[in-house]
Symmetry: C2
Subunit: 314 residues, 2 copies
């Protein structure tokens, strides 16, 4: 696999991102080629700190940088040759198989969508997140790409979440829960009530409604929700983390464990790491990209969505 890594995003500068990449290469030298995208001088300066003679490394020089406060919808046009866009374009051109950025999430989603498009059959690409519940990791989605959803969108999130859980968390048969306000089938709003029927009639391992407790207490491996509530849950979990960090107990919140989040449903492998990702997070994001690539995640998503929606139509 060849991965294009945008080194110009994020809060910590190119050094952190390059160190994480070198850490991965040091352990898996035959496994990966890396194309660093950004300011060539900065990249070469950072690389001079390492012995890279055995690694497959390319550099693509860019001058434009997407800022965290750039408007996602306009920056795609105003900075077409940004490091972010360029990394994704390399994927569209078949020069790399995946891309990774720590930059502006909205801008990255727009660029992925415009440059790579959607997997056949996917209506809305989605951003998943992982909650460290007391019974293991819980993948929940969407967390902000889709704020006003229809039941079919949530069904597609469930399918993509299932594939992601199988590949990343090695769950053989992940339990899919629908976030609602009570576990009974009758509890919910208009969106969840309609979604419940779709999930119930699918071949997914749907266990019914789950509640806000499940992100901490566990009970499902995948939780489906619209992007508005998912975004709120994600930010609440992020603000909890420092409170638990000082606890005598093991801190269940470890953002570096997976390191990067794929945009599921994009016709390519686009990962976003947190703006303040450390080298460990970058390294683990590459591991995630590798798993999605090796397991042909997008092919599985395409086929599964086709199967489920063929049943709905028939």
């Amino acid at each position: 696999m060849n991965i294009a890594i945008d080194v110009m995003g994020g809060d910590n500068g190119p050094g952190t991102i390059i160190k994480g990449s070198i850490d991965y290469l040091s352990e898996n030298v035959a496994d990966l080629s890396v194309t660093f995208v950004g300011n060539r001088d900065l990249i070469e300066k950072e690389l001079s700190n390492y012995n890279t003679s055995s690694f497959h490394i390319d550099i693509v020089n860019t001058t434009e940088v997407v800022q965290m406060d750039d408007s996602p919808s306009s920056v795609f046009k105003t900075k077409p040759n940004s490091s972010m866009n360029t990394a994704i374009k390399l994927q569209a051109e078949g020069k790399v198989d995946a891309s990774l950025s720590t930059g502006n999430t909205g801008a990255l989603m727009v660029a992925s969508l415009f440059i790579l498009g959607r997997i056949d059959g996917v209506q809305r690409p989605t951003i998943p997140a992982i909650a460290p519940s007391q019974k293991g990791n819980v993948i929940f989605l969407d967390v902000g790409a889709n704020l006003d959803c229809k039941p079919q969108h949530l069904l597609q999130f469930a399918i993509m979440g299932e594939v992601y859980s199988k590949i990343i968390a090695n769950e053989e048969k992940p339990r899919i829960g629908l976030l609602s306000v009570g576990t009974e089938k009758t509890k919910g709003n208009e969106l969840t009530s309609s979604t419940y029927k779709l999930l119930e009639n699918s071949d997914l391992n749907f266990i019914g409604n789950v509640e806000g407790y499940s992100f901490i207490r566990g009970g499902a491996e995948v939780i489906v929700c619209d992007g508005f509530v998912g975004n709120t849950v994600l930010k609440l979990l992020e603000s909890f983390a420092p409170l638990v960090k000082h606890s005598a107990e093991k801190n269940p919140f470890n953002a570096s464990e997976f390191g990067g989040t794929p945009f599921l449903g994009i016709n390519g492998i686009c990962l976003k790491s947190h703006g303040n990702a450390d080298p460990m997070a970058i390294k683990n994001a590459i591991v995630t990209a590798k798993k999605l690539y090796s397991n042909e995640a997008n092919k599985i998503i395409k086929n599964h969505i086709k199967d489920v929606f063929d049943v709905i139509k028939s």
Copy 2:
């Protein structure tokens, strides 16, 4: 003030509820009359543990009990003489000024709504909750009474939340935030985008959008959201509390501090305490009821909603 207290709800039995009430009376003997509603024998047995000669205490005997798993919509009709319904009926009959129950929330909301009705001008009564942020208590609403909301409902929640914050948390000019996925005005879903405009044009102290971080980090005294997302936030906070309890730092989660939650917008004072409320929580719920009563909360809500909606219509 005379308060009717349903002693048959909750997980801990009448003893806990009666102890909390006695604790209040012991400190405020001239301030309150209590009407205990439930099984007379059980109540008298518990009361025999105390010297109640100086207290104003009545007992209303009932035989039906609403269970936690009773359907809210049907139990109102199938158990019309339950301790829960009876406590609220006493308020409708003018025999008491407020009521308190630890039982089934949905059943209590239905009973309050059917027996007491809504304050003039209120479209949807709402259940608030309190998050213990690092910068003080944050009232957020709705937390489950209204799962599918319109912008006008959220505007009314803001008004009721402001009144609640002033009376309960002694905030002179509470800051009202609208829960969304970003602080910028343009960030949000269809509901919040329309609600933003209403709040912006009201005379409320509206500070704009807030995010999921604010429940822990603070920044607003009142956060407005629909009941689906508010319910999820509440349950996440509840499941997070035990993780922090063991922390070396001060636990910010103390459910007993306010003890009871009013149903705002009901034409009466109906409080719900948690099913596992301890005596301290019951005592503090009575304090809350007293504040709402003394400060004429419902009159203020009625007038403020009239003022705001007169402006909208004009």
